[in-house]
Assembly symmetry: C2
Homo-oligomer: 351 residues x 2
């Protein structure tokens, strides 16, 4: 099919395996390469790794340069932080490919990491290529979707989003990431170490401020443990009363005239009901509630669905507010019946 987009999967963790599988299922996309640093993966055929029952004739390479086939886009799913992914993205651009990335800090870097953003933007323009940072959160639920809703408002006074995830339905690594089973002291010392909690609130916040024309003067981020009051048991954890069953994170962002954005991320075992609530006050006041926005399924979908719009876009570093609406497809999965056992996405995944 002449309209087919050739995709290289870069990063084969749980999310990368799932995006590769979805690319393989899509008639309009062709999986032509795969890259991962894990020595246990390099050299294998990607088809078996991602849960198909057959090889795809695509060898997993240690380096992008070793991918022998021509391609259009690199689907980049490695890590969250600029200091870890910048060189990867610059390398992909230097090789001449567009980039769709799920790295959280790339979802809206213009205010929080302006130098890094400018560097990648300049490299993309120089290469005549496009880089998109996307995902479900950040990238959609707490930023793009609330912004879309403001299209039917005459005036916006305040934006709040509450995301509640029942982590009992998620896999072990996600449960571990939110502190399940820790003592409160362990939780707080991990917190102090800096890498506990959801990555993305400041990106979502700054996208909203910048797009709606507000000036951010202060951002407060708090992460608190959610403590079990009764025993909680999952496939992976036994949490005694008094121990941690999850986390409750709040980002509050202020303009000169008071709080303008409040984002709450709550993920805990046995947390019911889960779902998302967007409240935007102004003229009119809007309330939007969502059920079913599974973080792993959704991030994988968004990354793959965004490929075509990224290909069509002008060169540079883009965020979701810059693209025409990204949509899914009704096209039937080409090889769904051949799919192997990796139906669920393993976590590590996205909130």
């Amino acid at each position: 099919m002449s309209n087919t987009i050739r995709v290289i999967q870069y990063g084969l963790g749980p999310i990368g395996c799932a995006t590769a599988r979805l690319v393989d299922e899509r008639d309009d996309l062709d999986l032509v390469g795969a890259v991962d640093i894990d020595p246990a993966k390099v050299g294998r055929d990607v088809g078996l790794l991602i849960g198909l029952h057959h090889e795809l004739g695509v060898r997993i390479e240690r380096e992008l340069a070793a991918v022998g086939r021509p391609a259009d886009v690199v689907l980049h799913t490695t890590n969250s932080f600029f200091d870890l992914f910048t060189d990867q993205v610059l390398g992909i651009l230097a090789a001449g490919f567009d980039v769709v990335s799920t790295s959280e800090e790339l979802s809206f870097p213009w205010l929080e990491d302006p130098d890094q953003a400018a560097r990648i933007d300049a490299a993309a323009r120089a290469a005549g290529r496009t880089v998109l940072g996307t995902g479900v959160n950040p990238g959609f639920l707490m930023d793009t979707l609330p912004l879309c809703m403001t299209s039917i408002m005459q005036r916006v006074d305040h934006v709040s989003v509450l995301r509640v995830i029942n982590a009992s339905k998620r896999r072990g690594p996600f449960q571990a990431k939110i502190g399940a089973g820790m003592t409160v002291d362990e939780f707080r010392s991990r917190m102090a170490g800096g890498r506990m909690g959801h990555v993305g609130l400041i990106q979502s916040t700054t996208m909203i401020f910048d797009t709606l024309g507000k000036k951010l003067v202060r951002f407060e981020n708090t992460v608190e443990p959610v403590v079990a009051e009764k025993p909680v048991r999952t496939e992976f954890f036994d949490v005694a009363p008094g121990r941690v069953r999850g986390l409750h994170q709040v980002g509050r962002a202020y303009a000169d005239d008071g709080e303008f954005v409040g984002l709450t991320f709550r993920a805990a075992l046995d947390e019911e009901p889960d779902g998302d609530t967007i409240r935007i006050t102004g003229l009119p006041d809007l309330t939007v509630t969502l059920r079913g926005t599974n973080g792993d399924l959704a991030t994988v979908a968004m990354a793959v669905n965004a490929i075509r719009r990224t290909r069509e876009a002008a060169p540079g570093l883009l965020t979701m507010r810059d693209l025409p609406i990204v949509t899914g497809t009704a096209a039937p999965a080409r090889r769904a019946v051949e799919r192997g056992g990796a139906q669920d996405v393993e976590s590590g995944g996205s909130p």
Copy 2:
């Protein structure tokens, strides 16, 4: 301000008066002209007509050509149907302006009115100008927003939207339009005349089919009266039991493999609770519920909010799926305190 967009308001019915008022309130927009065919309006200053307590120095003209000041965009709010608005839009393009229109048939004309769409598209390209069809419904709730939601889905099997409006909260003309107070026989004979019911279901449907890659093979549209079981009284109507208090309209759209889209529009007096529900099945299944999407406020907001994106877009006839996300603004209303008595939008308005 150099970035200010100069706007001519074309059509000064209830929606046009409200859009003109919002343009006047916005710091980034400047109301520089106004056009209406009503002899009672022509020659007056638009400021007083739209409910301000002061003149704006903008005379309402019978013809666009009589507007003396330079402008960028025409905000077109006249009527729903191609046979009534095509010449207006072609005239605006010939005069060299971009167009943002709330005409329902323009919201997605590519499948339902392809010849008309092609004619306007060609004229826009020839003039180097952009035409956007927009609004809240069609234009957002039953098409753009569900399409946005599919961005986080790996596969879309079926899209349904239910919009329920409690017409008791709306003005007399809207209540009349949905049949309030009629006998069931009167309702059915008005129906047979063809212009009863919401305009836009086929446009929303075709936007969804076309965007998600489905082929529409059949569309069914039914409109039924909602009959009062007990007396209903509003400021404008006294409805006896057995008479009509509103309408219930369903559009069902089929692909080769069955129903793919189902849209339900229900507007009636004393209808509670009101709100919107979007259900999309696939992977994952999503449910989105909305409260507060007031049709008149929302259409006015969308039309004005879409102006900047329309200015920035490439020439041609565009729909909401073609633009980067349209958003509102947090900017305070410049002259809100001077606003006159026309705070509410009079209906006739948009569903």
